[in-house]
């Protein structure tokens, strides 16, 4: 008890700087708590969410009959979450259990990208650990983390991408940009809105180029490097998504990497200008 008390006092003191081992232990403890909480919630659920049934039925159809007709139920659905459930069914896991396991795991894994994004935002260690803790216990996220829904997976990939983008632009290392491209692609393959994370990347790039404000020579150097990294990012995004796009075209799916419904965002503007004319 005394050890626990001294540990808590240590962690919650404002000048605490943990060793790598301590940091790993703290993060693992928060992850374990998040995982347990979501798992406990999933045991309470007697009937999963309505959308979850649709994912399960499509995944089950894929596992039993292949891709041909599976997406007819909802042709606009992105494939990744459903394919993961289908993989679980193929491996002999129960339909609902697979879907729940994906949500529990990805929901609990959220603590890591959130912690490291916070590390880029705050100087102190304390708000970072609190951010991870709040993500672990936030009621609505934890509840949905025990459901068969694609939101936890989408959120995990989105925030993992943001973490990678931040690390990439901070360190300039190529590997982070490659991982950023892949994780934005995985977010897009989970929910169509995932492609919007790319906007965050473009904004970060623009910020990087413009805000040294140190004359044209520096801007040109920065711009060259940033455009190179942007190209790497886009290539890794394309390499991850194109095989899915190509495969899905042969099925009844109408899903595309860029959701064609996005044009609807601009309809009010078009109407406005047309009427103005």
């Amino acid at each position: 008890m005394q050890i626990l008390k001294s540990w808590i006092e240590k962690i919650f003191s404002s000048d605490y700087r943990p060793s790598r081992r301590d940091l790993a232990l703290i993060l693992f403890a928060i992850f374990a708590f998040a995982f347990t909480l979501r798992l406990a919630r999933s045991f309470q659920i007697e009937r999963i969410e309505k959308d979850g049934i649709m994912y399960i039925l499509i995944a089950d159809d894929i596992a039993k009959n292949g891709f041909d007709n599976a997406f007819a139920i909802n042709p606009r659905l992105p494939p990744l979450h459903i394919l993961l459930i289908a993989l679980g069914i193929k491996l002999g896991l129960a339909q609902e259990a697979t879907g729940i396991l994906i949500s529990v795991l990805s929901g609990a894994l959220m603590v890591f990208p959130i912690f490291f994004i916070a590390r880029n935002l705050f100087r102190s260690f304390l708000p970072c650990i609190l951010s991870a803790l709040l993500i672990a216990v936030y009621p609505n996220l934890a509840r949905l983390g025990g459901e068969v829904l694609r939101d936890p997976l989408f959120q995990f990939f989105s925030f993992f991408a943001i973490w990678m983008i931040m690390q990439g632009l901070k360190s300039g290392k190529l590997v982070f940009h490659i991982f950023a491209g892949i994780s934005v692609a995985l977010a897009t393959l989970t929910r169509s809105e995932g492609v919007e994370v790319m906007l965050a990347y473009f904004l970060f790039c623009a910020w990087e180029m413009i805000f040294p404000l140190a004359g044209f020579t520096v801007f040109r150097q920065k711009a060259k490097r940033t455009l190179f990294l942007l190209t790497v990012f886009m290539i890794s995004f394309a390499v991850t998504t194109i095989p899915f796009e190509y495969t899905m075209q042969k099925t009844m799916s109408e899903w595309h990497v860029i959701d064609l419904r996005m044009k609807d965002y601009f309809t009010p503007l078009l109407i406005y200008f047309k009427i103005k004319q």
Partner: protein
């Protein structure tokens, strides 16, 4: 990062972003609480947050017991000699058939809803682009608002027989509204001007004899209008039809089965699809349904199984076929 803001969970990315200022805010609150000479304020505060959140996670606000009770009741009453359960339901919730041993699922819908979803509304003013917006509020009402345009309303299906007439009315009465209606002779032909209707009044009514055709209404108007489809006679029970999910034009759609309208369609479906393996779930109380049968002089082939309440306190009555 937020998609269409229809459900609370679509706002989760905003919640996730707000976690960062919230954690900083927690530290500020803890600093403030130090004034009350409490030791380890941040640790206690964090513990309090964790406990409250954990309790909230494990005690969700609405328990949808009916989604468990109804499928369990169906399974308990299923004596269909090994035949697959067929569920015909007024509630479009995939959990009901899934938990009833993956039952074959059909919907009871008043036909008008689908009738409108199938209506194709478009502007034909090429310079103006799309200006019409189709809104469906309630079962039998559409509001179509636009300005300075010509609108085509293409009705691609027969209007249900139980609706004696179809009328359009507009809220404002601009002087230069004109309506032309062209009817289709048969499915193969193009639209031909069999009958043309003009009206400068505030309402136009189509009689029963012309409703069993596809027709195209062209409306020229110069102000915002509201179109209202009016049900002249009959209760929504009379427009009931059984729908099945079928592949149609690239995706699965709810399409009507070839039964009659009203309760008769359900009696016929129960007979056609087996009998005791067929369960029908109405979104009305038993008394209301059986009074309606009596009032219409119908003899039912259904047996009452039970009445339930949804989490929104709506009545649901379950019947079994084969009697």
């Amino acid at each position: 990062m937020v998609g269409y803001p229809y459900q609370g969970r679509y706002f989760h990315p905003l919640v996730l972003i707000s976690i960062f200022p919230a954690s900083a805010g927690l530290i500020i609150i803890a600093e403030y609480l130090k004034r009350f000479k409490i030791k380890n304020t941040l640790a206690w505060l964090s513990l309090l947050v964790v406990i409250i959140c954990t309790i909230k996670v494990l005690n969700p606000p609405s328990k949808k017991d009916w989604l468990k009770t109804i499928p369990d009741t169906i399974k308990a009453n299923h004596t269909g000699n090994g035949r697959r359960i067929v569920l015909i339901s007024s509630f479009e919730d995939g959990r009901l058939p899934y938990y009833s041993s993956q039952a074959d699922f059909h919907l009871i819908k008043p036909l008008m809803v689908d009738f409108f979803l199938d209506a194709n509304i478009q502007s034909v003013d090429k310079n103006l682009g799309i200006i019409a917006e189709l809104k469906q509020s309630g079962q039998f009402l559409i509001n179509l608002n636009g300005t300075r345009s010509q609108i085509h309303l293409l009705i691609t299906r027969e209007v249900p027989r139980k609706f004696k007439s179809l009328s359009f009315s507009w809220a404002k009465s601009p002087k230069d509204v004109s309506i032309n209606v062209k009817f289709k002779k048969d499915l193969a032909s193009d639209f031909e001007s069999i009958e043309s209707v003009r009206s400068d009044k505030e309402q136009i009514v189509f009689k029963e004899e012309i409703l069993a055709k596809q027709f195209l209404i062209t409306m020229n108007f110069n102000a915002s209008i509201e179109w209202r489809l009016t049900q002249i006679s009959g209760h929504s029970f009379d427009s009931y039809q059984v729908f099945s999910e079928k592949y149609y034009k690239g995706s699965m759609k709810w399409l009507p089965e070839n039964f009659d309208y009203g309760f008769q369609s359900l009696f016929q479906a129960a007979e056609a699809w087996g009998g005791k393996n067929v369960f029908i779930l109405f979104d009305s109380p038993k008394k209301e349904i059986e009074d309606a049968w009596t009032a219409r002089g119908l003899s039912s082939n259904l047996k009452f199984i039970g009445e339930f309440k949804t989490h929104k306190k709506q009545s649901a009555s379950l019947y079994q076929g084969g009697y």
